[in-house]
């Protein structure tokens, strides 16, 4: 039965979450993640450890796998409160992508070796899918793994592997046979395994988050395979679907909108706050409206997948089921770009100064003038040009929508 209301029990829950965060979130961590620069992975791991002590490090997992078992609205409240307080974002690769795959398809052995340390903040992940000649056409990838004894031996090249240099583990999509549907497998590899070389790619912001990963006779135990050999494409698709459900980037967009309003309130133009300029205020309001719609669409998507696993019929739209993943991806990605772009615009001349990421992380004052919020804004706006490219580019998603939703 349709019920669009929040549970009255949600309010005490919100207070509980808020009090916990206030008591346990380190202030310097909040300062780092409030600004647009990428928070270091070490912050994410430390915050995960703190949450784990309270049993909260996997807000979206079931209790039997070490999660919280929270309802959708509890998860949303937790995320709202974290954003509000400036907590670092949790490891989405682990929580929403590879984690659920291991839970669904991994062996008991794999689960017991990987999940507990992940929940304690001891594992951080990188995703090794893309290759120089396999981007949008991922199915054509060439990195190959062959079985030798108890191990797979892997050879090939991956590219754009975010955070590989800070990761403890990388999950790779590799070729173990011919074709796409039955020729790919998913393997977990120690990021420090012999033969695995990680080369930095400096990005448009002059920061290091991207890498090239070269695999030269890298060994990983067969026991580190997720699910069956040859089924990797199906797993990857499930994972990317899951990634896209989060691709509306609700937490990030919420935080970015709040920051945008703060900048606009602090920036004076002609002696008055930019926020009081009707033209500019209307631009922000338009983005807010898009956010409000997108946030509810995310709830619809999550509720549909919840009712799917419950075996009920649900989530219809005008009588038919909806593949929300691509819808969320397209507009979520575009909204991230529109908000960050408007943040840069709001900075005015201060959007022209280059602020150093290293100085920011070290907590040193930036050697250029500008409002306290300015560092990181431009950097984020530049980096997020990637939102419409990664996770399946928007062009690919639009084609998918035409096919899946409209049957074209």
């Amino acid at each position: 039965m349709t019920n669009l209301r929040r549970d009255p029990a949600d309010e005490p829950f919100r207070q509980e979450v808020r009090a916990f965060i206030a008591a346990h979130l380190p202030p310097d961590m909040a300062r780092r993640s409030r600004q647009g620069f990428h928070a270091p992975r070490s912050d994410t791991r430390e915050w995960t450890r703190i949450l784990h002590a309270r049993g909260w490090s996997a807000p979206n997992w079931a209790v039997e796998h070490g999660g919280t078992g929270w309802t959708l609205s509890q998860q949303a409240i937790f995320e709202e409160e974290c954003t509000r307080a400036g907590a670092p974002l949790l490891d989405i690769f682990g929580l929403s992508m590879v984690g659920p795959l291991i839970i669904s398809f991994g062996s008991e052995d794999l689960k017991s070796r990987i999940l507990p340390p992940f929940l304690r903040g001891e594992i951080s992940w990188a995703q090794g899918f893309s290759e120089p000649n396999a981007g949008s056409d991922l199915g054509s990838l060439q990195t190959r793994a062959v079985v030798e004894g108890d191990d797979y031996v892997i050879n090939g090249r991956k590219i754009w592997t975010s955070g590989a240099h800070e990761a403890t583990h990388i999950f790779f999509l590799v070729r173990t046979g011919e074709g796409t549907r039955n020729g790919l497998s998913m393997l977990i590899v120690d990021a420090h395994a012999p033969g695995l070389a990680i080369r930095p790619i400096i990005d448009i912001r002059k920061e290091h988050s991207l890498n090239e990963v070269i695999l030269d006779d890298v060994r990983t135990p067969v026991a580190n395979r997720i699910g069956e050999e040859g089924k990797g494409w199906g797993y990857a698709k499930a994972l990317l679907e899951n990634e896209r459900a989060f691709a509306a980037e609700i937490p990030r967009n919420r935080q970015n909108l709040a920051t945008l309003r703060q900048i606009a309130a602090a920036t004076l133009r002609g002696g008055r706050p930019l926020l009081d300029n009707p033209l500019f205020a209307a631009k922000i309001a338009e983005l807010e409206v898009e956010f409000l719609a997108l946030e509810f669409m995310t709830l619809r998507a999550l509720s549909q997948s919840a009712s799917q696993s419950g075996g009920q019929s649900g989530g219809q739209s005008g009588g038919h089921r909806v593949d929300f993943g691509s819808l969320l991806k397209v507009r979520g990605a575009e909204l991230v770009q529109r908000i960050t772009q408007l943040q840069v615009e709001a900075l005015g001349d201060h959007g022209a100064y280059f602020y150093s990421h290293d100085a920011h992380i070290a907590g040193e004052p930036q050697p250029v003038p500008g409002p306290a919020l300015a560092p990181g804004i431009w950097s984020e706006a530049m980096y997020r040009r990637a939102t419409t490219i990664y996770g399946g580019a928007n062009e690919i998603q639009r084609t998918l929508i035409a096919k899946q939703y409209l049957g074209l």
Binding site: S73, A265, V289, M297, S313, F324, L327, L408
Partner: protein
């Protein structure tokens, strides 16, 4: 939260869809317009028989007590056919009357289809369109209301008039002396009415409540929500009609549907529609059931007003995009008078610009956001000082 439709809800939507398919094809609508009548009396009686006029009336008042979500589901289907009957304006007026404590006989007459009250609001950004003063044993009410939807088919008008005590709600029969009504043809071929009443003399009992602010807002909220649900239905209709067209229309030796430019533009139509559905659901989540719980009323109403503005902005944008794109993808066919796509576009443009259009709603949101940011800044300041 649970977005799953119940069996009753699915049945309701299905029966409305069937009704529309069987009796309200676009040719039937054109024929109805050609009669010059504001609405079909026989169709109205059918709608009453189907229980649609009782849907949003609480069980305690003799209705079906189904609530806002069910109403929106029903109206979405009717919106796809752009029905001429004033279901949304009449139900909105009924909600205002219910909140104002109108008597059961009137509500019963609405549910049976005999009474068709509509709200005679003017500009939605003004608090009300009329003033009232005591006059002998009764009242004298003066004002005007233009572009009253369903106004040409109404049996009664609910007039909100400022009195020294607050906003009084008056119920006035459509044929009351001194009430000037001019039926006006709108761009979607429907009939509305412009009302002028420089000095209406009403008996004392015409006043339903002297403190009608909340009831007035309730009615207007239902009106706006209902029109959005209608727009959603119209957009959905435009989408699938266009999908079928591009699948069959051939150029360059193949179906239009095979061109990626066509596919991507249709994907954007899908996006606008599903976001519109999402924001409509978000708006519906702010409609209280029928318990008028005083404590939470103010807060939920503030949130409802905010979502009404947000929905207005999105529906204005989405409606125009979807309608215009449907015309574009039909080529010359989209420009003809006797094809449904052109009418859907005209209807969506009309709805977009109604009630102050997206501009007024954006302005409201922008003001609110400023207030909110000043509040948040104050809180940050306090937190800083506490450290």
């Amino acid at each position: 939260m649970d977005f799953t439709l119940s069996e009753e809800q699915t049945l309701l939507a299905d029966s409305a869809r069937r009704y529309v398919e069987q009796t309200y094809a676009y040719e039937a609508r054109r024929a109805a317009v050609a009669t010059g009548e504001a609405f079909g009396a026989a169709r109205w009686a059918q709608m009453a028989d189907l229980g649609w006029l009782a849907l949003a009336v609480p069980e305690a008042r003799g209705g079906l007590g189904a609530g806002a979500v069910d109403f929106a589901l029903l109206v979405e289907q009717l919106g796809a056919a752009m029905v001429l009957e004033p279901l949304v304006p009449v139900v909105a007026a009924a909600r205002a009357l219910l909140a104002a404590g109108a008597d059961d006989a009137l509500i019963a007459a609405v549910m049976e289809g005999h009474a068709r009250p509509v709200i005679a609001h003017g500009d939605l950004s003004a608090p009300y369109a009329a003033t009232a003063e005591r006059h002998g044993a009764g009242w004298r009410v003066s004002g005007a209301a233009s572009l009253v939807l369903g106004g040409a088919a109404a049996t009664h008008y609910v007039i909100g008039a400022g009195t020294t005590a607050g906003l009084g709600l008056f119920l006035v029969p459509a044929d009351w002396p001194g009430l000037g009504r001019r039926d006006v043809r709108l761009t979607d071929d429907s009939l509305g009415a412009d009302l002028t009443f420089p000095a209406l003399e009403l008996p004392f009992e015409a006043l339903i409540t002297a403190d009608g602010g909340a009831a007035w807002r309730e009615g207007l909220a239902w009106l706006q929500m209902g029109l959005h649900a209608e727009a959603l239905g119209a957009m959905d209709k435009a989408l699938w009609t266009t999908r079928d067209y591009v699948r069959t229309r051939r150029q360059f030796g193949t179906e239009l549907a095979t061109f990626q430019a066509v596919q991507h533009s249709m994907a954007d139509m899908v996006l606008e529609i599903e976001l519109a559905r999402s924001i409509l659901l978000r708006l519906l989540s702010t409609f209280d059931g029928d318990s008028f719980d005083e404590a939470s009323l103010d807060q939920t109403h503030a949130e409802r007003d905010r979502m009404l503005a947000a929905a207005k902005v999105h529906f204005a944008k989405a409606g125009f995009y979807v309608g215009a794109q449907a015309v574009q993808l039909h080529g010359g066919m989209g420009l003809t008078d006797d094809y449904v796509i052109g009418m859907i576009f005209k209807r969506l443009v009309l709805l977009r610009n109604l009630h102050g259009g997206p501009g007024a709603a954006l302005e409201r949101l922008a003001l609110e956001q400023r207030r909110g940011e000043h509040l948040a800044a104050g809180q940050r300041q306090m937190a800083q000082e506490a450290l």
